[in-house]
């Protein structure tokens, strides 16, 4: 396994770089057409909920929608605080605390 480890790391590094660099280099070169700019503006609107929601609602790949699932309490806290425009650091700290608390009590 020893010599293979660096080969695997190199392969992983290359595979990952191929997901990061090409579009960054191509799209940074020239002004973009209007539709493409609109498309790029919408990507975070789609990606942020897609990153967040499964992490909150799924537990080991299954739906976990019940009051005994601590991340739901954390998400409720985040939604309220974020809607009130509370600072991100405070929002996250409170949410993390609530999740830890609910887990400790549960």
């Amino acid at each position: 396994m020893r010599s293979d480890v660096w080969i695997v790391i190199g392969g992983m590094a290359l595979a990952t770089y191929l997901t990061r660099a090409p579009l960054m280099l191509i799209l940074a070169r020239r002004p973009l057409p209007h539709r493409l700019r609109l498309w790029l503006r919408l990507i975070p609107l789609a990606v942020l909920p897609a990153l967040a929601v499964p992490l909150i609602v799924l537990d080991h790949g299954r739906l976990a929608v019940s009051t005994t699932h601590p991340p739901l309490w954390g998400a409720a806290v985040v939604l309220v605080l974020a809607a009130c425009r509370v600072n991100l650091l405070v929002t996250v700290a409170v949410a993390v605390g609530v999740v830890a608390l609910v887990r400790a009590l549960g």
Partner: protein
């Protein structure tokens, strides 16, 4: 905004995820050493690959003697979401030397993308670089500590630290909602991603939702909405 100021702001704005990134770095470092990797290999992977989810997936596969090709392909699929982030970030780096862009691209990560793009889209390039430095620094420092001491926190979830990541993504998603179309796009994305995550493993839900919703939105929305 001046470059040093934006760089500093990017670092400061990313401190919100730094503790969780650091602790998960220690967990990764500890697991990697347990699985038989040396400190130098674990650090090398963290600097050269710098993609937490893929690294957590790779270590047990390495330990179990999976083929190199399988591990590399798994890494690629887990990281395909970077294509979307790279496309979104690229316009911020117009006029930058290509070597710089090639280097900055290596730093793309979920947290820096979320924090920088939620503030402004396209983001301030130096703000993004500052965020990458903070996230990368926290992660690599955590990995180093983890390889030397083992995971510091046996179960980060017990302290709610796992929840810092969805909390940041969710709070930033809320901060992006300005128009009715934004709400619609975000709600559709949430439901779609959940549905896909229930049936497909890995990170396909992020890739498919990201491409699908933004493409439909760009085709349907009024030109003036941009």
């Amino acid at each position: 905004m001046s470059a040093p100021r934006a760089l500093r702001d990017g670092v400061v704005a990313s401190l919100v995820v730094a503790p969780s990134v650091f602790v998960y770095g220690t967990v990764f470092g500890g697991l990697a050493v347990q699985a038989g990797l040396r400190t130098i290999e674990t650090l090398g992977m963290s600097l050269l690959v710098f993609a937490g989810a893929a690294q957590f997936a790779a270590v047990p596969m390495l330990g179990a003697g999976a083929s190199s090709l399988t591990i590399v392909l798994t890494t690629y699929v887990i990281n395909m979401r970077h294509y979307l982030m790279a496309a979104t970030l690229a316009p911020a780096f117009r006029g930058f030397p290509r070597r710089w862009v090639a280097l900055v691209a290596h730093g793309i990560n979920d947290e820096s993308f979320a924090i920088a793009v939620a503030r402004r889209n396209p983001p301030d390039p130096w703000f993004f670089i500052g965020s990458v430095l903070a996230v990368c620094g926290s992660f690599v420092a955590g990995v180093l500590v983890g390889t030397l001491l083992g995971g510091l926190v046996a179960d980060p979830a017990r302290w709610g630290l796992d929840f810092a990541f969805p909390a940041v993504f969710l709070a930033l998603a809320v901060s992006q909602l300005h128009s009715r179309a934004d709400w619609l796009a975000a709600l559709v994305s949430a439901v779609l991603a959940l549905g896909i995550a229930l049936v497909l493993p890995g990170n396909w839900h992020i890739v498919i939702t990201g491409v699908g919703v933004s493409t439909v939105g760009a085709l349907v929305l009024d030109r003036d909405a941009a």
